[in-house]
Amino acid sequence: MTTLTDSPGRGASTPPPAPTTPTGGAGLSLYRVVHLVQVWLLPALLVVEFVAFSLLSPFFLTPQNLTNVAVNAADLALIAAGLTLVILMGGIDVSTGFAVGMLSWVVASLMAAGQPPIVVFLAALAGGAVVGLLNGMLTARLAIPSIVATLGTSALFQTGLFALWNSRDIFSTPVFPFLSGGARLGELPILVLIVLAVYLVLHLVLTRTTFGRSIYAIGSNVEAAKLSGINVRRVRVIGSVILGLLIGVAACTYLARVGVVQASSGGELTMLAIASVVVGGTSILGGEGSVLRTLGGVVFIVVLDNGIVLAGVPSLWNGLIVGFVILVAVSINGLAVIINARKKRSL
């Protein structure tokens, strides 16, 4: 955070100088370049990705394949959307994957017990709200660093799932038939439309409501947010609860996608969700980013997953590319911050 302070070299805590000497003009244009790269990196990557895969596999750019990818990405997209709110406030959540797993067990067993779908869905939402409230209370109210608190709850959810599972895989049909992606409105699966609607709503909430502004304010400068009269704790708890609700929905779509709940279901989603947000370009330090960028991050990751298989590359390479892109994206971000700080100093 220190690198983001705006004081122009007055504070003696000015970070040690970087090797090159700062010259006003060059710094400025360099900053422009880096800033442009920062903004356009993800769109460029997406274009490269689409072009490359459509050249490598004729099947890639077919509507059938793309809708398939979109349907399969639903749970990750929902989690990443909610996670963006938490990360925008400077927090983190590493419990999302097992929360999805645990809730999907609940959903599956309620389905197996023959409950009406709407009841099951509401139960999933309620469960998600509880999960979000728990994390929110631990981090915002009880002031436990969010990485530590959610590590703890992640372990609890993992065990919760394991205990519930109790060596019996539960197979289940989707809560609502459209969750499996079959039902369409025109060309598009209804599920995909719902996910897009969630993103649109969250985007509007973030950009057009008091609550959204408060989220950016907290992530940008928590002290100033308090001094501006923002109820920081409440906003943080609500952010966590929204993430929880989306996790509840994601549990339903996850189940619809995989059809079975096992001992460690959902676990892989935790890191993927964080990676989606980060690749999207939302700053892990908070204050900067958007859900639309996260959507781009999700698309990048799931398309990569799909395209690599279609292109005949062993899927083992997937992580290499994801990891590499994360590092490149944050490195450019880091460079922009460093250069920006130096530009400010030399004003």
Binding site: T3, A12, S13, P15, P16, I92, V94, L138, R141, L142, A143, I144, P145, I147, V148, A149, L151, G152, T153, S154, A155, L156, Q158, T159, G160, F162, A163, K226, A263, G267, M271, I274, A275, V278, I284, L285, P314, L316, W317, N318, G319, L320, I321, V322, G323, F324, I326, L327, V330, S331, N333, G334, L335, V337, I338
Partner: protein, 355 residues
Amino acid sequence: MSDVQTGAGAASAPTRPDTRRRAPERTPGSGLKPTGGLAGLAKDRRVVLLALIVVAFIAMSLISPYFLNTANLLTLLQYSAVIGVLALGQTLVILGGGGGIDLSIGSTLSLCSVTFGLLSVGGGMSPWLAALLTLAVGAVLGLINGLFITLLRLPPLIVTLGTLYLYASAAMVLSNGVDINGFDRDGFSTIGQTSVAGIPFQVLLVLLPLFIVGAFVMHRTVFGRQVYATGSNADAAALAGVNVRRVRISLYMIASTLAAVGAIVTASWLLNARPAAGSGFELQAITIAVLGGTAITGGVGKLSGTFLALILVAILNSGMQLAGIGSTYQIGLLGLVLIVSMLVRSRGAVRETAL
């Protein structure tokens, strides 16, 4: 004292003998009432952990008659040797402050496993030589983390998330996703499968020495002091002549070299090198480090705390196994203990953050 009430920091000199550290202290900071001896004791995470260990020990011996069996007690740590080594590295990285954390050590372990397997089987090298080279590879992987974090001033959480994917996937690609075995030569299985004086080799000659050396380094060397200084106040450390970047880079290198040690121990123990050998270990290692009293913000914590946390986890694991409870429950218990231990701490912190 591994007091985790950051800010009010009551960490005392590592060089002083224990008896002095236990002396009641004037409570620093604002508006806090002076605490008595008992409360002062409870502020040291290690005292809490010792109490928990005693409770767990008694509980486990009641649950299972086999728990107190000497063989069981001695092998208690065997299963925890690898995770203990990783937790040691994680503790150091977190201690260095600046948001220090290493999510990639599990993947580093995987990649080192594969490296080791390829060198010793594919390369036909003596397993011992391959082990040495693997340590060097581990150090390089940590160097990569450290350079990204310090030179580009990137958040460690994200850099190591990136390398988590990178290293794990590299392990998969290099091994083609299959286990490597066939390095049970030159007595290599000694590390993982033998005992010395009834104590498993990897505990007596890997885990314990590393913790002892680590504790010594942290308390008695210039480097160790620099780590605490950097974690406590990086600006002040720089002004006091500490090369903050170099200290932090070293910590990441140490952590991933320790992950390589973990890989070698695992390979010798299981006699195969799995490309996913370390997956999920990072979270456990962080959990144990934090449970041991290391403040996630750096500067506060002791290796002895991490070690006690490890023992607690080992007892829980072992006891629950004997009681026929699945190993996943241990993870949940670990999470619960972690949260509760943070709740004990955070009352002061809550008041501090309440504006």
